[in-house]
Amino acid sequence: MGLPEGAYQALANALGAENICDDPAVTSGYSYMWLIYSTHAQSGRYRPAAVVLPRSTQDVQTIIKIANRYKFNYIPVGTNLLPPTIPARADTIIIDPKRMDSIVEIDTQNMFAVVEPYVTYAQLQAEAMKHGLTITIAEAGAQVSVVANNMFQGMGGTGHKFGYNRGVLGCDWVLPNGDLLHIGSRGNTNADWFWGDCAGMNLKGLLRADSGHCGGMGMVTRMAVKLFPYPGPQTFPVKGANPNFEVDFPKDRFKLNLIKFPDRKKLIEAMYEVGHAEIAAAVHEEPASMVLSGASPSVEYFWQKYPDFMKQWRNVLSVTLIGFSSARQIAYEQKVLDAIVKELGGSFIDEGSELWAIGQDNIGEQIRTGLSNRLFRIAGDFFVIGGFGFDSIDQSYKMSEDYMWPLIEQGQKKGHFVPDDTHNDWLNSYQLGHYSETEPLIYFEHDLDAGASFINSYAQTVVEAVKRRMCTTWPLGPMNYISGPTMCNYHELVLKIKKAVDPRLTSNPDYPVPQEPPKG
């Protein structure tokens, strides 16, 4: 099914014929991706009815108004990494922002940048570094959209120091009826982009809440994001050649520590202590599978090394120190870290050891994510059991131990998930340990059986979380009907908000919450 009669021509008239296409040879490029067997199992997936390429905020407003007038759906995308951007209905267009790729401004005094949706983290950071500034970069990779990632969660490697979800300042937001809303300080008369709040009522909470609306509430066309001090070289210091890159930050300002603890409890305690001491820029529990995949130039390399590596790499905490103010800062923080590690019975992995060689590029990963997509190398598809566990560090740990790992073991027994007996998550400290997120990573083949196994485990973890009154998050669209009833029916409120701003339900209709619960 295509667009309603007249709709295509209306879009072509507004944007220019070259900026809209409905040919299947082109729209096929927006119809398939990872996790698709899981996420679109019920709805099926569709080629978009058309793809449009706006150039400006005004173009986006026009597209959305045409969608409302002719009654068809649209999905605004960024760099297009997540399954909700694949249409689950026939009469849906994709708003692809490839022509909206400007860094509008870098304000070095007030330390923020204003970007359009097709600017990637790597691009923005490359420009920011020239001014001694940086940004915390999405774990999904530095090749993803700054705007889209901040609309989703905005978490990144250096979130321990730079915070979680705190980078969004002023924004231009085209609502699902086509109106333009300025939020943050952008909403005040003659104000600039510099502040995430504003005088009077601010609707920033509606923009994203905890984990975004996946294109279900219009499109942000310009976003100001916070930048942070960066004491390193003006270009990212990479050495070597593909695929064996190494990073080479000045040692007096950047220091990676890889620390083994006797068990996970000690590791968790250390994360807290590092937070209490207010040291470090990045603090992560790093599972063996993730670290080895980052160092693997091929799937064969990974599987050759993995059995032995899994035995050796357990309960390892990665702590990146950055001397923002001086080299003495690093020296001080290292002393504090040494004391914490000693007290908790940890041991530093020796620089020069084989384990160090495999993990050493972790420092580059925290500052400019470049290895994370290698997770797909392990088996084809991957995700996190039960979404993400967002809570305090010990609650994240408890969630993972209590019910996430038992479910992972079930999937492993069926042969669907890659073996892993470490019970190590990718557990991240944010805001100096006041908040955390845990990702028990699972890897599976990209097929129907494994996809079903994953989605069942995923749903089950959401159920288990709400039973225990724990906070699990990022329930994908329909999953909100599982978690909502045990959490004050928040999903009904979210749906009401969606209907209030998107009365025709044209903006990625099943997100953030679909109108109807899923079947079965």
């Binding site: 692809d96 990212f236 990479v238 593909n242 290698r374």
Partner: protein, 420 residues
């Protein structure tokens, strides 16, 4: 191999978008972050490796037909291999091979080559060159030179001029100079004159696989029969195909070298010395088929098993083992010459825009791609842009003229000549 052989790759692409960009760690600025010319020009995801994977999967699964538009999506790609390099950092996939297979499929379905390609294809069939020139004139570039004719004499080295350096009057001097330098260095070298035949790279690039294999087989037999130890060419296009594709066609009893490699070797052996100053700031453009495409390929015929492992294990090409150091060594050895590097170099070099049949079928796209490279070269402060590929030289040179750039377009051998 057919497209079916790549099904695992096609269904497992997670659309991470790495294929559209230089590897994040090597990005130095916002403006020079892209690696895919097709994506830059056409914007829709379909014009990236990820989108073409989706098209290939959809074609395999019968979701779409091979239409004229599908053929356009398939052929608006320079086959530069930039996507291949960045994808492989992350995944065990073969974007460049899939792009080639899509073209073979377009040909099989009667949608390829495109009309713009046909004069060259027909000319290769009829004249053994893509330039609509008679076979008899092929050796004229060297008619005033004293050089061994290997159809009659023996030599250790065959200088394979290639079609463009043989016929293009503006570029013939490159072949003559190269040959002269080799001779003066005491290399036992000869040529084939009018008996030389097209390497058939242009046929392969537009999906005419049978035509390519026929020419390649004939050339391999000829070179083997000559008994030469080394085949030297100055054309990056010929070099890339001789080095990476010919081994899949037949056993080769000779090694293949690009002339810049040979110059570098002669410098190291002391058989070539530079005595004259060349006071010039230059920047080097890595031709795709000399650089990332100049890496030998693993001719693999296997299957993907559990977890995507290759059976038998496959050696992947990461693009970093191409010819990158040799031209830089030669340039740096020239007295007075200063080399200023562009941002996108070596395996992450930006394509000149001419490859994959784009220059003949989509000239505007070819020029736009070249323009971006010219602007990148200008930003280094260089006075000249240097390369060693006739396709790059022509296309970049045309773009320099079109936009009125102050840059000079030079072939590396011209600088070598000035320095001797």
């Amino acid at each position: 191999m057919s497209l079916e052989k790549y099904r695992w790759d096609l269904v497992n692409c997670e659309r991470c978008s790495m294929c559209k960009w230089v590897h994040p760690w090597s990005i130095k600025s916002k403006e020079r972050a892209r690696i895919c010319p097709s994506m830059q020009k056409y914007k829709y995801d379909a014009y990236s490796a990820q989108g073409r994977f989706d098209l290939a999967r959809a074609l395999l699964e019968g979701e779409v037909e091979m239409t004229d538009k599908a053929a356009e999506v398939i052929y608006t790609c320079t086959l530069c291999g930039g996507c291949d390099v960045t994808c492989k950092f992350t995944r065990d996939m073969e974007p460049l091979e899939v792009l080639h297979e899509l073209r073979a499929l377009a040909v099989a379905k009667g949608k390829g080559p495109l009309p713009g390609h046909m004069p060259a294809v027909d000319s290769i069939r009829q004249n053994d060159n893509p330039w609509l020139q008679p076979r008899s004139r092929r050796g004229h570039w060297a008619r005033k030179m004293k050089v061994k004719d290997l159809t009659k004499d023996k030599a250790e080295v065959l200088y394979f001029a290639g079609c463009t350096y043989s016929y293009n009057a503006n570029l013939q001097e490159v072949a003559r100079s190269t040959l002269r330098i080799l001779q003066n260095a005491g290399v036992d070298v000869g040529i084939l004159g009018s008996s030389e035949s097209c390497c058939a790279s242009p046929a392969l690039k537009v999906g005419m696989v049978d035509m390519f294999r026929e020419h390649a087989s004939r050339n391999i037999k000829l070179f083997n029969d000559l008994g030469v130890k080394t085949v030297v060419t100055s054309c990056a296009g010929c070099y890339g195909v001789l080095r990476s594709q010919y081994p899949g066609v037949g056993k080769m009893n000779f090694e293949v070298k690009h002339s810049v490699e040979y110059f570098d070797q002669l410098l190291r052996e002391g058989k070539l010395t530079f005595t004259k100053e060349v006071p010039l700031t230059v920047t080097w453009h890595d031709p795709c088929h000399l650089g990332r495409g100049g890496e030998p390929q693993d001719i693999w015929d296997g299957v993907r098993v559990k977890w995507g492992l290759s059976e038998p294990p496959r050696e992947r090409n990461f693009g970093a083992k191409g010819i990158f150091d040799a031209p830089r060594n030669v340039l740096k050895a020239i007295p007075g010459l200063k080399l200023a590097e562009m941002e996108r170099i070596r395996e992450f070099s930006w394509c000149c825009g001419a490859g994959g049949g784009v220059r003949s079928a989509f000239p505007e796209f070819a020029l736009e791609t070249a323009r971006e490279r010219i602007e990148e070269a200008e930003s280094t402060g260089a006075e000249a842009l240097v390369t060693s590929c006739p396709w790059c030289e022509s296309n970049l040179g045309d773009s320099i003229n079109a936009i009125g750039s102050p840059l000079k377009m030079l072939s590396l051998v011209e600088l070598v000549n000035k320095a001797i």
